[in-house]
């Protein structure tokens, strides 16, 4: 049995609308105030500074950025160790590296293979070289980039979702934003505020992982590549600690199981954030098969290992969050990242280098290149809605280090689908030959297509003690999530499923949204859903359901993630 046996009721056509009257007109509309979207906004601001006539032509709001969270940064989460090269390029000397909101240079790094009792230091894989990189909180970086974007003239619109794509005559005309103030049954409450139709000459989708409109656009314009996208789920915490950590740590092995049948590809990261903070996170591919696997609980288990416990001793958990990461890499990229009037950037496009655990600097570079392509098309006076007008973006991306890096490591992740030992050996070969060996391209399978198995994995999860290990509900609380209880359910899942699938979702979800509900007859059960817990990580979309954006402003309020 597979989760994909129970597809949700969802049709991309629901989220396409005809343009109609413009309620609001902007020059370039960017959906998502993450590193890709904000880099795009910043670069556009720089270019428009030197092109006042074009700026005027674009109207009162030349660049607008929609953000579904309460403010930029509220929904941003990553490790993160950031390669500063793209940011330097973006700011072109106007901002010193010391002004970037980073925590510190990576001085020492260590990779460990964990067993339940030991931590074996292993040589750093060549893909994981972080010399010259910096530790950062993506949420804080996003907030800082938003300030720079506003200084560069962009208008940021928080608490606003991109709900539907406005498409007319085969081109993207803009975005319809989401309604606010609907009740559980979809009815209009007293303070109902309908969404608005925002028309733009160019729409840039920078929604990050599981981007809603990105998925709609890929479907509408037939851009999906041959290989389906696959994801990993990352759950992380930030801790205030008594003694500073002096190195960036990655671990493989325990608590994940290396056998091929489990498909538990992933590991943990532990990064110092300045002198008194440490972030620890667990990342696991969502192609896992065990019904009882819970990444949140595996993270709790990880913390009980003496290597990690020692680092957190005397400390206090101050943040928690979860988010998916697109892991298909080069093989899962869409066939192209532009369409008439449309550009797709960042994690939404899948620009992540999994073996190196890097995506932020690719997001920034893709945003920058998208800005240049949009600017060029607008300056030429041509309509960006014309076929091929924005093709310059794909061309530039193909020439950039983004393409080169992703191509080189393209087969690495699928190799690990065959287990740690084989995967490790293949990864070594790939690195040494810079991707020439093995030749050709591997294939990916949808995360929800893997047959489920059951082990008694859940027995090993530590009972939350409220000091070192924590339950999901208190973690959701810590994420600052205050989603309205009476909001409509934004999660599409089949109501009646096999009990194994309900339990899979229950364990999978880091925010305890799903539970096994009442019996539904024929051995099936209902799925109980508490949508107000949702931190919009996107795991459900990978594993058989579909996340759509809830009303603007809902969800977590990350600050340190």
């Amino acid at each position: 049995m597979r989760p994909s046996d129970y597809p949700p009721s969802f049709s991309p056509a629901e989220f396409i609308a005809a343009p109609g009257e413009a309620e609001i007109e902007v020059g370039v509309l960017i959906v998502g105030a993450g590193p890709a979207g904000l880099a795009c906004a910043i670069r556009l601001g720089q270019l428009l500074e030197g092109a006042p006539e074009l700026a005027e032509r674009l109207g009162d709001v030349p660049v607008a950025v929609l953000e579904k969270g309460k403010q930029p940064g509220s929904h941003l989460l990553s490790g993160a160790v950031v390669n500063p090269s793209s940011l330097r390029k973006l700011f072109d000397g106007r901002v010193k590296t010391s002004d970037f909101p980073f925590y510190g240079r990576v001085e020492h790094e260590a990779v460990y293979f964990l067993t339940p009792k030991r931590a074996l230091r292993i040589p750093k894989p060549p893909t994981m070289r972080n010399h010259g990189n910096f530790v950062a909180s993506l949420s804080q970086l996003g907030r800082w980039l938003a300030e720079q974007a506003e200084d560069a003239g962009a208008t940021i619109l928080p608490e606003t979702t991109g709900h539907a794509l406005l498409v007319g005559d085969g081109r993207v005309r803009g975005v319809r934003t989401g309604d606010r103030g609907r009740g559980k049954g979809g009815e209009e409450l007293g303070n109902f505020e309908p969404g608005s139709d925002v028309h733009a000459r160019v729409t840039v989708l920078a929604e990050g992982t599981q981007g809603h409109l990105t998925g709609i656009a890929l479907d509408r314009f037939g851009l999906e590549g041959e290989n389906p996208q696959v994801w990993a789920l990352g759950v992380k915490e930030v801790w205030k600690v008594a003694k500073p950590l002096d190195r960036v740590i990655h671990t493989l092995g325990w608590p994940l199981r290396g056998g091929a049948k489990y498909r538990e590809f992933g590991g943990s990261f532990i990064y110092p954030m300045g002198e008194d903070l440490v972030t620890v996170g667990m990342v696991v591919g969502l192609d896992y098969r065990d019904v009882e696997l819970s990444v949140h609980d595996v993270l709790q288990e990880l913390k009980t290992h003496k290597l990690v416990r020692k680092l957190l001793e005397g400390g206090e958990r101050v943040a928690w969050g979860a988010k998916t990461i697109p892991e298909g890499g080069f093989l899962s990229l869409p066939t192209r990242l532009h369409a008439p009037g449309l550009l797709i950037v960042g994690d939404g496009a899948g620009l992540v280098n999994v073996p190196a655990l890097k995506g932020i600097h690719y997001a920034v570079e893709s945003g920058r290149l998208a800005a240049e392509a949009a600017f060029a098309a607008l300056q030429r006076g041509e309509s960006p809605g014309r076929r091929g007008a924005l093709a310059g973006y794909d061309a530039a991306l193909a020439q950039s280090f983004v393409w080169r890096d992703l191509k080189q490591v393209r087969n690495m992740r699928p190799a690990f689908g065959r287990g740690l030992l084989i995967g490790g050996a293949m990864a070594g070969a790939m690195t040494v030959t810079r991707g020439a060996v093995p030749p050709g391209n591997a294939r990916t399978e949808r995360d929800a297509d893997h047959e489920l198995i059951r082990t008694d994995r859940a027995k090993r999860y530590p009972a939350p003690d409220g000091k070192l290990t924590f339950d999901k509900l208190s973690s959701v609380f810590l994420s600052g999530n205050q989603t309205r209880d009476d909001a409509p359910n934004h999660l599409r899942v089949r109501d009646r499923v096999a009990p194994e699938v309900a339990e899979l979702w229950k364990r999978m979800c880091p925010a305890a949204v799903y539970d096994v509900g009442e019996e539904a007859g024929d051995g099936d059960v209902h799925v109980a859903v508490t949508p107000s817990n949702c931190v919009q990580c996107g795991a459900i979309t990978a594993k058989g359901g579909r996340l759509t954006p809830p009303e603007g402003g809902a969800g977590p309020e990350y600050k340190l993630t």
Binding site: A463, G466, D471, L473, S474, V476, F477, Q482, R484, D485, D486, T530, S532
Partner: protein, 320 residues
């Protein structure tokens, strides 16, 4: 040290909380006086002596007949300026909170509010109050006299110390602006139970009730205890009880003297809405329910067996 305590009255009786503050003041030593402001309230003044007042100042005036704050500020100003009081104490209520703050502005006097304890150190009044959702306690002081203190409702119990008070009438003049607000219609005691925000006792039901019908026993117990009914987010979501009764992070925050949690697991989203309750009693069949970590009395058992019996016993003991 000379203390003044504002006594409130309602429907012919001195308000319990004010008497509690008066009793506490009396226990602090020094001179303790009370003040009673209203219309046709003189008869209540003598009672204050039983609770520790040595003297009761009364302004009996039809203009004080309605529970409006601003004329009371005028009256207290007169009394305090002439009376040489070191501190003026109030039991918090909708009315007295406005009076205390208005008086603070009038006299340029410090007001500490939401106090849960009072003490005397070096002959001066000091207070304690909770902060950050009761997770931290702060010791507060004043830098000048008189010291105005607003005490959290229900903090002190009235204690008769036996004694009698001298009743002294006074007449303060009211400012024009103080009389500008007028009572069109005054509230009467509601015939239904108290709202959950004001209730001294709350019985709350959660998913452990099993079905919406489970709330019938919750309501019975609440009635027997003279309290209000509350519900968790989970059951409100499921439509078992109205949202107005929801307690928790996305519902109401309550701090009754007694909170009885029936069939509630007590995750933090619920806890933050009721953690400052005086006494927490939890009944749940799951021995690992988080609520058992912060309840004062945790009962592991079947609520369907326990709650009806409990309701009967409460009725019996209350009747006795």
């Amino acid at each position: 040290m000379k203390l003044l305590v504002l006594l409130e009255d309602h429907e012919g009786r001195l308000q319990k909380d004010s008497l509690g503050v008066l009793s506490k003041a009396a226990s602090l030593g020094g001179e303790v006086e009370a003040v009673l402001l209203g219309s046709e309230v003189e008869g209540l003044a003598a009672d204050a002596g039983k609770f520790g007042a040595q003297r009761v100042h009364v302004q009996d005036d039809v203009l004080l007949g309605s529970p409006l704050p601003q004329p009371r500020v005028d009256a207290l100003e007169t009394l305090v300026r002439d009376g040489g009081f070191d501190a003026v104490l109030f039991a918090a209520s909708v009315l007295s909170a406005d009076v205390a703050a208005g008086l603070a502005a009038r006299l340029d006097a410090g007001l500490n509010y939401d106090l849960t304890d009072l003490a005397v150190e070096d002959g001066k009044l000091v207070g304690k109050r909770p902060a950050l959702g009761d997770s931290v306690y702060v010791e507060v002081g004043w830098s000048s006299e008189p010291r105005l203190a607003l005490v959290r409702s229900g903090t002190f119990e009235p204690k008769e110390s036996g004694g009698s008070a001298e009743v002294e009438k006074f007449e303060a003049r009211f400012q024009d602006f103080s009389l500008a607000a007028t009572m069109v219609e005054q509230a009467h005691e509601e015939s239904e139970g108290p709202s959950i925000e004001d209730a001294d006792v709350i019985v709350a039901g959660g998913r452990g009730l099993g079905a919406p019908e489970g709330f019938a026993q919750v309501e019975e117990l609440a009635k027997a205890l003279g309290g209000a009914v509350a519900a968790t987010r989970a059951v409100v979501d499921a439509g078992w009880y109205p949202y107005a009764a929801q307690v928790g992070q996305t519902g109401k925050t309550v701090s009754p003297k007694l909170y009885v949690a029936v069939g509630i697991s007590g995750a933090i989203q619920h806890k933050v809405g009721m953690q400052s309750s005086g006494l927490i009693v939890a009944i749940n069949k799951d021995p690992n329910a988080p609520i058992f970590e912060y309840a004062d009395l945790g009962v592991v058992g079947d609520l369907n067996e326990i709650v009806p019996k409990l309701t009967e016993l409460v009725r019996a003991r209350k009747a006795a």
